[in-house]
């Protein structure tokens, strides 16, 4: 009885607060919408018009108060009046109105308005004029003299020395007035240049400028409405997010039946907000743009796109290539994972590291190498084969510029994904299941077929689907290998459409939608359908899995494995390394004068180092934020029973499945301020893009680690009195630290060398290594690109090694 009674007040208080926040958020949204509609009707160019008007007006006030008024005060009264009249005349001229229209303004206002008008006048004081002013010993004095002249008006002609002034009229008179007003300011401008510039931009045209100044003079522009108009969109966004958070919080707490607002809910909601704004919003925007190109639902875009033969081909190519890569990659990865994880193959550890290495290299690096090796004219391997088999052909036998070539390179690059997934699942499988089969009389091979494979099938399928999605969204490899052979994929077509400018963007979106849908369907299948079938087989005791003795197969299999490793990994890497030292790609390294360190030296130039710094920074930022998000979201997934807790995870997975170019496209189109967030052309947009794309890696690792920590460990911490945060930091964190580190690393690496998104989102200040590599490849030279590529590889390997040492060997991918 008492417990319920205690719960009541807390609950009531909370509900009241939530209701209040809900109300406030509606106010925000309402206010924002009002601000926007006011602006829309006003005809101004940008929404911050009122802020700049206020600012400009403020500067004019200061100028008047501190200089113009005192100066005027020193003049005799008659001249003051004359000056005021002159000023009024000048203002009327500048505004193209009659002097009578300015009757309502006081003299002081006229002076201020005059300053404002002249601050952005097109007629600048020429440098010759400025020089003359600078030459004057006492500019203030000169200005005063000029003002007198101005004021005297008709008295000019009588003074022969001042006869030159009679030619001054209209704009020139304005010039003089401007000189007078500006003489105070060192820059010889009336008011600050930035403010004036921003004001003109905000107002848009001359008419609006005058309108704005009049509004200011009339006092109808308040700071509040200036602020709301300028930030209307952000206000709406924040209001909407607040509303969403309140509703979600209510649902969360109701499901958990606890009415205490804990830090963890805040964090979870914050992350949900992040995902909604940066992932969901751009995606939905793209979808709407594609399905409602002119406001009405229409499949016109799709019809037009997909009836175009080239696009249709690209579609079929993408599907075929991805499917084949999936099958081939899994078919390779599974036996490899088994051999490396379960048998006594020679050099298991070495092979494992080697295959994981391929994952750490940018995909186009592999493409670059295979290009050199398998191009049909003079590919190194082709030449070898011709020599070996005595073929008298000038082309082939193998041609990398084909669908087959594309599939091969995609497979060699993406099979590590399947390899890693399957290895992990294999390690988690209870080894006694296989031992029981052996005891029952099955040979190792039969055991694999009848026991291991069926049990691992769900994980296998999950891994395969991952490969499919990744292959479908790859851009680097098809652009290098496919394009020369006219094998187009949806991703390359998207980029080509994107390059066509305004008209192309809709088409690009239409194609992008196709990839988004694939990702959605595949990942849904994988996450929701397959996940149900996973057999939970984690054994309690940590028995060492029995190593299958390969006996007479040991050597042959090791040799085959070695051969595969050489072909798939060593040869491409070696090619890149040797090319990086060459001057002339066509000549051998041993030829005279063909060896050079120039390319490697170039890596240490300022430019490259600057890119390196950026890559490190952005990668680290994304990885760190990603690690935190992973921890919090893993907690949500593993430790709560909230319905719908899988949705954020699904979103995160979707992010990985979305092609990089689509993510970048979406961000470009939504993050320029029209929805309240403007991170375009900043480092922020890059980091956000990286995060969305690669968060899943960290998420999976941390989540799986957390699932293996028994909840009782955390419960005992809670009983001892520790709150959620402290438990996470003191108990859970240290326990899963190796996995957190692994997750961090898994996010960091692809961010480090990322290319596709960077080319679309970078600015001169935010160039990265990946971008630099693309530049080298496209515009500098192949050897230079190879040096950079190998440098990246070395860096990543060293980092892996260092991290391994630091965590005392616990950390491996």
């Amino acid at each position: 009885m008492t417990r319920k009674a205690n719960r009541q007040p807390a609950r009531t208080v909370l509900l009241t607060v939530l209701a209040g926040l809900l109300l406030f958020s509606s106010l925000m949204i309402g206010g924002g919408i009002h601000g926007i509609s006011t602006f829309d009707r006003s005809g101004y160019t940008t929404e911050d018009v009122w802020s700049w008007t206020l600012r400009l007006g403020g500067e004019a006030e200061t100028l008047y108060r501190e200089w113009t008024a005192p100066e005027l005060a020193t003049l005799p009264e008659a001249e003051q009046a004359g000056a005021a009249r002159a000023a009024r005349r000048l203002l009327a001229e500048a505004w193209h109105v009659n002097e009578t229209d300015l009757a309502e303004y006081t003299d002081a206002q006229v002076w201020k308005l005059l300053s404002m008008t002249y601050s952005f006048s097109r007629k600048k004081i020429s440098s010759a004029g400025r020089k003359s002013i600078a030459a004057i010993e006492d500019p203030a004095e000169a200005g005063k003299q000029m003002l007198s002249v101005l004021a005297a008006g008709s008295g000019i002609a009588e003074n022969p020395a001042l006869s030159g002034l009679s030619v001054l009229e209209g704009a020139d008179a304005a010039m003089t007035a401007q000189v007078f007003l500006a003489a105070r300011n060192e820059n010889a401008t009336v008011l600050s240049k930035e403010t004036s510039l921003a004001f003109t931009r905000a107002a848009g045209d001359e008419e609006k400028e005058i309108e704005a100044m009049q509004a200011w003079a009339a006092g109808t522009v308040s700071p509040l409405n200036a602020w709301v108009t300028e930030h209307a969109r952000t206000v709406i966004l924040l209001g909407a997010l607040l509303m969403l958070d309140v509703i979600l919080l209510f649902i969360l707490l109701r499901q958990e039946k606890s009415w205490r607002v804990d830090l963890k809910w805040m964090l979870i909601l914050l992350i949900v907000d992040f995902l909604v704004v940066f992932q969901l919003l751009p995606l939905v925007y793209l979808l709407i743009r594609a399905f409602f190109p002119s406001g009405m639902f229409s499949l016109e875009t799709f019809r037009r796109l997909y009836t175009y033969a080239m696009n249709w081909q690209a579609l079929t190519n993408t599907l075929t290539a991805s499917a084949c890569t999936m099958v081939l990659g899994t078919a390779i990865a599974y036996p490899l994972a088994y051999l490396v994880g379960r048998t006594n193959l020679y050099g298991r550890k070495f092979f494992r590291s080697l295959f994981v290495l391929t994952y750490m290299v940018p995909p186009y690096v592999g493409a670059m190498a295979w290009l050199r090796l398998l191009n049909k004219n003079v590919g190194t391997i082709n030449l070898l084969l011709r020599g070996l088999f005595g073929l008298r052909i000038t082309e082939g036998p193998l041609n990398i510029y084909s669908l087959g070539g594309l599939i091969w390179v995609l497979t060699t690059f993406y099979f590590p994904y399947a390899f890693i997934t399957i290895s992990r699942a294999m390690e988690k499988m209870d080894p006694s299941l296989e031992e029981a089969s052996r005891i029952a009389g099955a040979s190792p091979f039969q055991t694999v077929l009848k026991i291991t494979l069926p049990i691992m099938t769900p994980s296998l399928i999950a891994g395969a689907l991952l490969v499919f999605v990744c292959a479908a969204s790859c851009y680097g490899i098809p652009s290098i290998i496919g394009a020369p052979g006219n094998v187009h994929t949806v991703t390359t077509r998207i980029i080509e459409y994107y390059g066509l400018g305004v008209k192309g963007i809709n088409d690009a979106t239409g194609l992008a939608v196709f990839l988004i849908l694939i990702a959605l369907v595949v990942l849904y299948l994988s996450d929701f359908v397959m996940a149900k079938k996973q057999y939970v087989t984690v054994s309690g005791k940590s028995t060492r899995p029995a190593m299958v003795d390969l006996r007479k197969w040991r050597v042959p299999l090791t040799v085959m494995m070695g051969l595969f490793a050489v072909i798939a990994v060593a040869v491409p890497f070696a090619t890149i390394l040797t090319t990086s030292f060459k001057v002339d790609v066509g000549k051998s390294l041993l030829e005279e004068g063909n060896f050079t360190l120039n390319q490697w030296n170039a890596l240490f130039r300022d430019e490259s180092l600057g890119c390196l710094k950026n890559s490190l920074l952005f990668g680290a930022a994304a990885a760190t934020i990603g690690a935190v998000i992973s921890c919090v979201m893993s907690y949500l997934m593993q430790r709560t029973r909230i319905r719908g807790r899988k949705l954020p995870d699904f979103l995160i997975t979707l992010g990985s499945g979305t092609p990089s170019v689509v993510i970048a496209l979406g961000l470009i189109m939504t993050m320029r301020g029209q929805f309240g967030v403007n991170i375009y052309n900043t480092a922020g947009i890059l980091i956000v893009a990286y995060l969305i794309k690669y968060l899943m890696m960290g998420m999976r690792t941390v989540s799986s680690a957390m699932s293996q920590i028994h909840v009782s460990l955390e419960e005992s911490s809670q009983i001892s009195g520790a709150g959620w945060l402290r438990t996470m930091v003191r108990i859970t964190g240290p326990l899963i630290m190796p996995s957190i580190a692994a997750g961090w690393f898994l996010i960091f690496i692809p961010c480090f060398y990322e290319l596709s998104m960077t080319t679309l989102l970078y600015t001169s200040e935010t160039k990265t290594i990946g971008y630099q590599l693309y530049q080298y490849w496209t515009f500098t030279s192949q050897p230079q690109a190879c040096a950079m590529a190998f440098g990246i590889l070395l860096f990543v390997v060293v980092l892996n090694f260092v991290l391994n040492r630091l965590t005392k060997g616990e950390f491996t991918i």
């Binding site: 400025r130 001042l162 020369p484 066509l500 080319t759 001169s764």
Partner: protein
């Protein structure tokens, strides 16, 4: 201060005011910031930035690199659907001259004045001052004499496409992303009709970047490539490469790339004075020498220097096949479409 000096001041002022607005300013006076987007190669950008710093010590000039296609896309995004958006640059130097026509039509350019353009420039310019040529890129063919002899390689653009012995052994840039490649196909389709594209397609021309293509010449994978003269000159000079330019007998394709100033109210820094100064400098002898050091040809009449071991610019102009820039601009989509269909569709 006496009347005499005041008069002197005022008269000077009057003189200044009556002079053409934006008269050549003294270099130290050019200040503020100016952002220039260009598709010139990064090494050129470094050189030019240094030269600009020397010439205008108080000016913060930032040159940013982007391929023509990339820049066009970036700017398209910035312009927005309503073509009213503000750009993040003040000046633009991209390879495709037709782009100047496009931007002028959208009202995004600012006219600047230079002295006597008719006498100064070798190529066309906008009479209202909206754009001027600043450098000439030159689309030619190239081959590797160490791998193939001159008899085996084409000496005309026509042969490049039609000679079947070259099937699968030729390469060129991507008109969708490279302004110069676009110009080239405009010129070639003008001269030979769209059948030229079909021939290219049947010869299985590979579409890729210049650097990739050069590597293929080195390895012998390609017999001949269509490439910018400047890329070849660069490796010839810097790496002693044997790769040699073929000046096609049916004409070279000169692409006089332009310099444009963005309209004041659409530009990043509204520093028109500086833009004007920079434009003038670029077209001065000094600026043109900078261009030459980037292996490009000068646009200034009377300059006899030419890059490295190319040929005299005037002689080159005589060989010019000529590009219809209006057609390049207005029929761009159609030409691209035809090219795609003939060449890049399998």
């Amino acid at each position: 201060m006496n009347m005499k000096s005041l008069t002197a001041v005022l008269l000077t002022l009057a003189l200044a005011l009556s002079a053409v607005s934006g008269a050549l300013a003294v270099n130290e006076d050019i200040e503020g910031k100016v952002v220039i987007y260009t598709s010139m190669y990064p090494f050129m950008i470094d050189q030019m930035t240094a030269a600009l710093k020397e010439e205008f010590p108080n000016l913060e000039a930032k040159l940013e690199y982007g391929g023509t296609g990339d820049l066009q896309t970036k700017l398209a995004g910035e312009m927005g659907d309503d073509l009213k958006g503000q750009l993040s640059c003040d000046m633009l130097m991209v390879a495709e001259p037709a782009y100047s026509l496009e931007l002028k039509e959208y009202g995004y350019l600012e006219p600047v004045e230079i002295e006597n353009p008719a006498d100064l420039l070798r190529f066309d310019y906008d009479p209202e001052g909206y754009w001027y040529p600043v450098r000439t890129l030159n689309m030619v063919l190239a081959y590797n004499p160490e791998k193939y002899s001159l008899e085996e390689v084409p000496t005309t653009f026509k042969a490049f496409a039609e000679d079947r012995s070259l099937d699968g052994h030729i390469s060129m840039g991507n008109p969708l992303t490279s302004g110069t490649a676009m110009a080239a196909i405009v010129a070639l389709s003008d001269k030979y009709g769209y059948d030229y594209f079909k021939a290219l397609g049947e010869n299985h021309v590979m579409i890729e970047s210049g650097s990739t293509a050069l590597a293929k010449l080195q390895t012998g994978e390609c017999k001949a490539i269509m490439i910018l003269e400047e890329s070849v000159l660069k490796i010839r000079k810097e790496e002693n490469s044997p790769i040699t330019v073929i000046y096609p007998e049916d004409g070279v394709i000169l692409v006089p790339s332009t310099v444009m100033t963005i309209a004041e109210n659409r530009s990043a820094n509204a520093n028109i004075e500086a833009c004007e100064a920079v434009t003038n400098w670029l077209l001065s002898e000094e600026g043109q020498r900078c261009i030459l050091s980037g292996y490009m040809h000068a646009v200034r009449k009377g300059m006899s220097e030419y890059p490295y071991d190319s040929m005299d610019t005037d002689a080159l102009i005589e060989k010019d096949m000529g590009v219809d820039w209006e057609r390049c601009y207005h029929d761009r989509d159609e030409i691209r479409g035809q090219f795609q269909e003939a060449v890049t569709m399998p």
